[in-house]
């Protein structure tokens, strides 16, 4: 337990001092990206990991929040109003999304969320009078809470860090709460939970709402970071990327999605410097992780390590038996 606390304190110290020892603004921006994608992944993990509901359309909710922010800013709203209304719009969409997709679970849920995500993507792409179509929406400036400008990479990094910490804490509280426990119950034994008198649908619905809220917050950070939003952000590839973050790091663990987000963002940033074939690599990593270590990188490497260790020791045992 104390080792865990030391690790947490060390991680916190690293994250807080990061702008002072990072060699450049580029790396600081990568760190900001990791943080807001981690918020997104934490949001999805609540559904996909703890709820067993793998949403393949989560980028749509992320995008709706980003588009709403961009659209409102474009139409003369102030930053606080734009952010607030965008979050409300995204939450309303999440509720609609949940009502439709929770008609099913398991594979049916995957299919419905995928179809919904693609429909929202099509809307962003074709509804040119609102979304600007392929040209997207540009955002100018960042909010200035309490008069502090967030234009510099460092200030934006700290914003992301604060939001990230709050999301982590919210995720941890949720998972330990009765609702979180009930959600895990509905994942493992939906019928039994139903028989015990739990309202399976309502539990899943509220989990979807929390997931949607975190996703929407990440979406708002995204649009302020990029200063731009286009249909690409809502594409199936984007939904798949965040699913990859969750399962790569280890679904239904608190830190898994964070590790996954770091991995995907870093690989994407590093690889795109050398290769134009990011999608091919994304697909290949996906297939490899699902087949070789479906439980995620952190628990998966531990398992492979144990297996290798056993293999190394077994022949020796055989030799002893012979002699």
């Amino acid at each position: 337990m104390s080792a865990r606390i030391i690790a947490l304190v060390a991680a916190a110290a690293l994250l807080i001092t990061l702008p002072f020892w990072m060699p450049g603004v580029y790396y600081l921006n990568v760190a900001s990206q990791i943080l807001f994608y981690a918020v997104f992944a934490i949001g999805l993990n609540i559904l996909a990991g703890y709820g067993g509901l793998v949403s393949l359309g989560h980028a749509a909710l992320f995008g709706i929040a980003a588009y709403a922010t961009g659209y409102l800013l474009q139409h003369g709203f102030g930053h606080p109003a734009a952010i607030l209304i965008a979050l409300v719009v995204a939450l309303a969409s999440t509720a609609l999304y949940a009502v439709l997709s929770l008609r099913a679970s398991g594979i049916g849920y995957i299919m419905i969320t995928l179809a919904l995500g693609e429909i929202v993507w099509g809307l962003a792409y074709r509804w040119i009078s609102v979304t600007g179509g392929d040209n997207g929406i540009s955002v100018h400036g960042r909010p200035e809470p309490f008069g502090i400008s967030l234009t510099s990479a460092g200030a934006f990094y700290y914003t992301c860090l604060i939001v990230f910490v709050f999301s982590m804490v919210a995720g941890a509280i949720f998972v330990r709460s009765p609702l979180g426990a009930a959600l895990k119950g509905t994942r493992d034994q939906p019928r039994r939970m139903n028989a015990l008198g739990y309202h399976v649908w309502a539990i899943r619905f509220w989990a979807s709402m929390l997931s949607g809220l975190l996703t929407a917050i990440a979406g708002v950070l995204f649009v302020y970071y990029n200063q731009f939003i286009s249909p690409q952000t809502l594409a199936l590839t984007a939904s798949a990327e965040v699913v990859l973050m969750v399962i790569a790091g280890g679904a239904s663990t608190l830190f898994g999605p964070v590790v996954g987000a770091a991995l995907v963002v870093i690989v994407k940033n590093v690889v795109s410097g050398y290769l134009t074939r990011w999608n091919f690599l994304l697909g290949a990593i996906f297939v490899a992780i699902v087949i070789l270590m479906p439980e995620g990188l952190v628990p998966g490497s531990a398992r492979l390590w144990r297996l290798a260790w056993q293999r190394m020791r077994q022949p020796r045992k055989g030799a002893e038996a012979e002699s």
Binding site: V54, L100, I107, I119, L123, R126, F280, F286, V287, P294
Partner: protein, 290 residues
């Protein structure tokens, strides 16, 4: 009036293509209980193969229909290999299987972009089907009518296969109750491969014969996959009749939507899906809620 008549023919044509695409998707889904997310990629891959064969490969220029058949067979083999080599390794883990097909669809999309480039390829309408059928004051493109005919023939063929043959009976048994089918001695895992190959071949065939109308471009896979999904959500999985009616419904909604509400064409697809999910979540002709 003419406008609506032409639109109707186009809708039925598109519905026919959708049927070819989604019947395989629906059968795979019904039997293996997984939505095959590479299905759009197989459609696109078929179209690219067809375009390559028709355009000439190594000095050989193929007849359109031979190219279509060849492309369909190649993609069917690819589908069978995919089922045997990848999905077979993940028995009883439907979510993992879905994610593998998703990962693979990205790889196919990027591979196609690498091989065939980012520009759309057009495929010539086969010579024998260029022209119009005149019906009073109206003229309908012959090729579109031919697609309707082909889709109808395939629909009847599939129905005969499923309803009148031994293998069809085995597939139906597998869809209804895979465990029981195994117990009575049907080799369900072999059926998986057969159905996967059949579905892949049909999707590729649809891609090729659709190519003269839709052309072939990067992103075709992502345009078609949601349509197949919506068809199956509406029609119900594992049901041939379901994909038939679902395809026609979506064919009409998509084409009329594009003509009348071009900005919201994709969004209007949402409406039938919403209604079906709210009132009949297993789909119009489906036997189980996925």
């Amino acid at each position: 009036m003419t406008f609506y008549l032409v639109l109707t023919v186009n809708s039925i044509t598109f519905g026919g293509l959708l049927f070819l695409l989604s019947s395989g998707f629906s059968l795979i889904f019904g039997l293996m209980r997984i939505p095959n997310l590479t299905h759009g990629s197989l459609f696109m891959l078929g179209a690219y193969f067809g375009a390559t064969f028709v355009g000439g490969l190594l000095g050989l220029v193929f007849n359109f229909w031979i190219a279509a058949l060849l492309g369909a067979i190649l993609v069917a083999m690819f589908g069978a290999a995919l089922e045997r080599l990848l999905l077979r390794r993940l028995p009883g883990q439907p979510s993992a299987q879905v994610l593998v097909t998703l990962g693979l669809s990205f790889m196919v999309a990027d591979f196609s972009l690498m091989v065939w480039g980012g520009d759309p390829l057009s495929v010539q309408t086969p010579d024998s089907l260029v022209g119009f059928v005149r019906l009073g004051p109206l003229a309908f493109p012959l090729y579109r009518l031919a697609i309707i005919g082909i889709a109808a023939v395939v629909a009847i063929g599939l129905w005969l296969l499923l309803d009148r043959t031994r293998i069809g009976a085995m597939i139906r048994a597998g869809v209804d109750d895979p465990d029981m089918a195994r117990v009575v001695g049907i080799r369900v895992s072999q059926l998986f491969t057969t159905v996967f190959a059949l579905g892949s071949g049909l999707a590729a065939f649809a891609g090729i014969i659709g190519a003269p109308i839709l052309s072939v471009y990067p992103g075709l896979d992502q345009d078609m996959l949601p349509l197949a999904l919506v068809v199956v959500i509406i029609g119900g999985s594992g049901s041939l009749l379901g994909s038939f009616f679902g395809s026609i419904i979506i064919g009409f909604i998509y084409n009329f939507g594009q003509a009348l509400l071009p900005e919201l064409a994709y969004f209007v697809l949402f409406l039938p899906m919403l209604l079906v999910l709210l009132f009949k979540p297993q789909g119009l002709f489906g036997r189980f809620v996925p």
